[in-house]
Symmetry: D2
Subunit: 349 residues, 4 copies
């Protein structure tokens, strides 16, 4: 890309060098295929330990769409559906992957991208009898597709409510690292497992990985045939070892996984604070690695000559909300440069 | 694995160091996501050049199951099916992945794993009218799941026949490199494209890659919505760059892709010749990187204490056909060791 | 049912005697199966003539769910979806039948149950690229599931808009007879075909039939494989003759089909006017064969001891909107009895 | 049809007059929709009594394809498949309806159209692990699509074997009446239930019905969500009453259902015996209502000017096996006429 810096997303970057080094240094042995290798075992053990879920099954999947589809399909009979916010990734940006497996998404409006007890109830209220799809799973994302987050108590309450209504609970954790790294939410690696989710996945791709998400399955009944679904839905990689290696390294004693997310969040916070000090408005607080400043359209056009970012929402004829994403690879000077560019425009230079 | 050497398969190994080096040296830039990056463009360009198919579309997919499913689905209306040998990977070892998209596999018995004009006709003869599935695609694998291969003229004839009957033609090339590297078949990178396949994929995983297969789409009508299908079926990787990089390196001027397959074939041939010289029987010639010697069961038990390989078919109560797979990473001494072990058993030591 | 009269729905009744008579008098001959019989030809001819669509294909299907599924599936590639009001039958009361074929319903809020150009645009605006489902069909219902109706110009405008955006247009006509019989709308049998729908179905079940809906296909491209889809989705009846006979009789010179709907509408109008004169409120005008009076909850409880009807919407803690459905079989005295019962309650007796 | 008589199939005829009379005489009351009416209850009660299965659930479905799909889908998780003879209706003549729900048919060669313990084992032997489809249901047809039949002990043995291997057992009874009416098989209405099938359906369409098959569900676990599947797969008829009425009449004290099949079988036997006496050859015995004489091709051409029947299999360049089907409506004189026509040809007139 010819621009100075891209804030488009957290998968614009390559892979964290530590992961490459680990792969490189453990490349000469032979291993069993399809995730039956020693590295997948090690990665799974370290995930179980990190999340304090000693009895969980862990399986590695190549990307988020496949992780969502496979995870949800294991929970559903053919006449059952998934409760999701309208903004859920499965509802908006997976090209109908879940419906392609035969299941309806029972979505509810959620301006903040979150499922609450009330919204769950709204979805459940649509159920009548055999003429309507049976709601069976509540789908959460943390951090959400909108950059918002659940606090620990908020998430615990929604999960508990879903379970009390007989729903399975599934969490899309493509950006879970950034939510755990946001200390204001009260979530830690240690206490996350206590939320009682039936299944969730731990994102690697958006947090410095080559590729790969780790599915953590705590519900015993969902473990039995998980690998059948994996194979059938294209999620079983012949050389699973590389995903095992990445997660073994992510969750080694230095906790690289959390470190990288903290860095991404910190740079986003620096951007937020810097822009706010210049008088740029926001309608949504900072927190994780995505921020959403509102710029004048003129300013956006000028900024786009040097920087990459997405226009998110039209605020008025003259102003637009944009999305800026930082990542493990965003350097402090990238943030400084952007702030300097904005400041020049704000000051009319 | 605790054994001396595994001949289980060609995905027991890590990744070829050159690929890792290339990824490592091109890791610091930012790129667009989802295969829209410069490396995917470069990899695609080099594939187009190598196969002499300047107008083909090239897309990178994470694994073979996903490549088969997505490729075939683009060719099928819901009432249409795929003609395949009974041994076709889609029919035997993908957990019903194609049927899970709603399509029937119209399989015919094929002891050698190949589709011939007669077998295609046999499948077509089952079609009657709207009560029967409409055959729409012929599915070829080269080299096949049984280690057999089509000669150039044999494959050309079968493809031509399928096309003359109004079928699309699709080739699963998970081990295409080994077939092109087998010079006795008459296939070259340059002439492969002349076969006129509508779509085929070029395997990376089994030939030293980290992961990834490259789909080559020559039929114009199938290009338009290929990426919609990719996304919907879980085949669109956010960081496509790594697959682009692997194939850019595979098809660089030194033609690493073909070199690695030649090495694998050579080691398999050495195994074959060595065993034959000791009087071990085969019911199938050598050729690519898989060989199928017939051993006494006693010998197998002893060999399995040191080596890994699969029992393939029972020949009699006392003898069994086994599969030995060599790869880019098989060292000549691995072959020598195995031959030495067999010779000791043959000689009753 | 032990009640005096049921206003639950228009399929509580048996079959109109004329249809039975016609079947009975044409029962002794042998016919080809699967809709290839003389009666299906006759029924189709009469439908083509009645709707002034001489080139249309006509196929008979056993019920509305199957008609919706098959009609829509013929229009969709796997990555495409259907634009529907949230209240669309396919979205609410078919147990996810369309999703079970792999397709997303892209629904928009529509308090009146109708698709307008604006609502179509709202659905289209969700489309971005290969990450989003491609909208491909606009799904209309006339009369709608809420008892509302499109005027001729309103429907024409919405259809035209959908077509201008590249969408196919499909109309669920389970209660089409009642809409055509409602003269205020400006629709006639003769001018309905001019709307240019790609496909619509003509309801039989809810208008006195035994079972069966007639699909009218005007789009040439959708005719070719319609019967393949019919068979695959369970819609091809071995003894299609009985559906052919029903529609042959419905569209005989006396136009029984329209007569029955007029009768149903007339009785509903009598109910509406009678209730209105007693001061019962409505928030939705009369028109076809469904009316929605708002009663006090006390009154509802008393009425339900003698009559059957569904509570539709809560208006306040004390008042509820209910649905009363009349049919071809509703006798004037059934209406009179109900009005008399209400009047006694209104007058406090 | 302009021919003298059609032996094409058992759905060329209209409906048995008794069924029409029963519908006609019970047409004036109002009933609940979707199979919740008094007639469905009565029909179900009589079926339970007739088959001596007091705890079975009974549901009515419009046709055989829908019955097969819905019955089988209730038994299957997405990675599971159905064991069937290659000739099974689901495998040959339902346009891929089962695959369209996502499931593989694991078919085995069966020249006589039947599943035996050995053939079940053959299918099971293809299963390996999560890479292969899990066999989950054994699909039987009685009488089979080839006109063959299982004796009681033969069927009992195959069902028992399937159950011992952990398979569900499902029987397609589109022509069950003819098999029970064939006294040589040892099956009676009373002892059929003792076979222990998890689910089977009782054909109406091919035995004089208007339309409709009755599903009998004995496995408790499969009852719970049967109606959800019915609705989702298009099998829930709004006016279920007419199917309930047909089966109530079929299984009234005169046992019309069995009578009609006996008549059909008797006429087929008369045809068989008559042809055999003239020296016409058969390679398959008589039994139910389908017979398969082998005629010279010249004779076939002449017979087809007056009669309808299907050519079934080529025996040699000069001779062809044809299928003649009798039904409840075949008159003795239809058989006599045909025999007379053949005799004239045999005698060279």
């Amino acid at each position: 890309m010819s621009m100075k810096y891209s804030f488009f997303d957290d998968y614009s970057e390559g892979v964290h060098p530590e992961l490459l080094r680990y792969i490189s240094e453990n490349n000469d042995d032979q291993q069993l295929g399809y995730g039956n290798d020693d590295y997948c075992k090690l990665g799974a053990d370290r995930l179980r330990a990190a999340f304090n879920l000693p009895d969980a099954d862990v399986q590695f999947l190549p990307n988020g769409t496949v992780a969502n589809v496979i995870g949800l399909v294991t929970m559903l009979q053919s006449f059952e559906g998934v409760v999701s916010p309208n903004t859920g990734h499965i509802n908006t940006h997976e090209a109908g992957a879940l419906e392609a497996t035969g299941h309806k998404i029972i979505w509810v409006e959620a301006a903040d991208g979150k499922l609450s007890p009330d919204r769950i109830d709204e979805a459940l209220s649509r159920y009548e009898d055999e003429h309507t799809v049976v709601p069976r799973v509540a789908y959460f994302t943390q951090a959400t597709e909108l950059g918002t987050t659940y606090s620990r108590s908020e998430l615990a309450k929604a999960i508990e409510h879903a379970k009390s209504k007989g729903l399975y609970t599934f969490l899309d954790g493509a950006r879970l690292a950034m939510a755990i790294a946001d200390k204001s939410l009260g979530l830690t690696l240690e206490n996350f497992g206590e939320l009682g989710l039936d299944m969730f996945y731990v994102g690697g791709t958006k947090n410095g990985g080559l590729y790969g998400e780790a599915m953590v399955i705590t519900n015993v009944a969902l473990k039995t045939h998980f690998r059948n679904h994996m194979k059938q839905r294209g999620g079983l990689m012949a050389k699973g070892r590389f995903m095992g290696q990445q997660f073994a390294r992510f969750f080694d004693t230095d906790n690289l996984w959390l470190q990288l997310a903290e860095h991404a969040n910190d740079q986003a916070t620096r951007l937020y604070v810097g822009l706010e000090e210049m008088g740029i408005e926001f309608d949504q607080p900072s927190g994780t690695n995505q921020i959403f400043p509102i710029f004048d359209n003129d300013m956006i056009d000028l900024l786009l000559t040097d920087y990459g970012f997405y226009k998110w929402d039209k605020i008025s004829d003259k102003r637009t909300k944009v999305r800026l994403v930082c990542s493990w690879a965003t350097k402090p000077e990238n943030v400084d440069d952007f702030l300097w560019s904005v400041s020049r425009l704000v000051n009319g230079q």
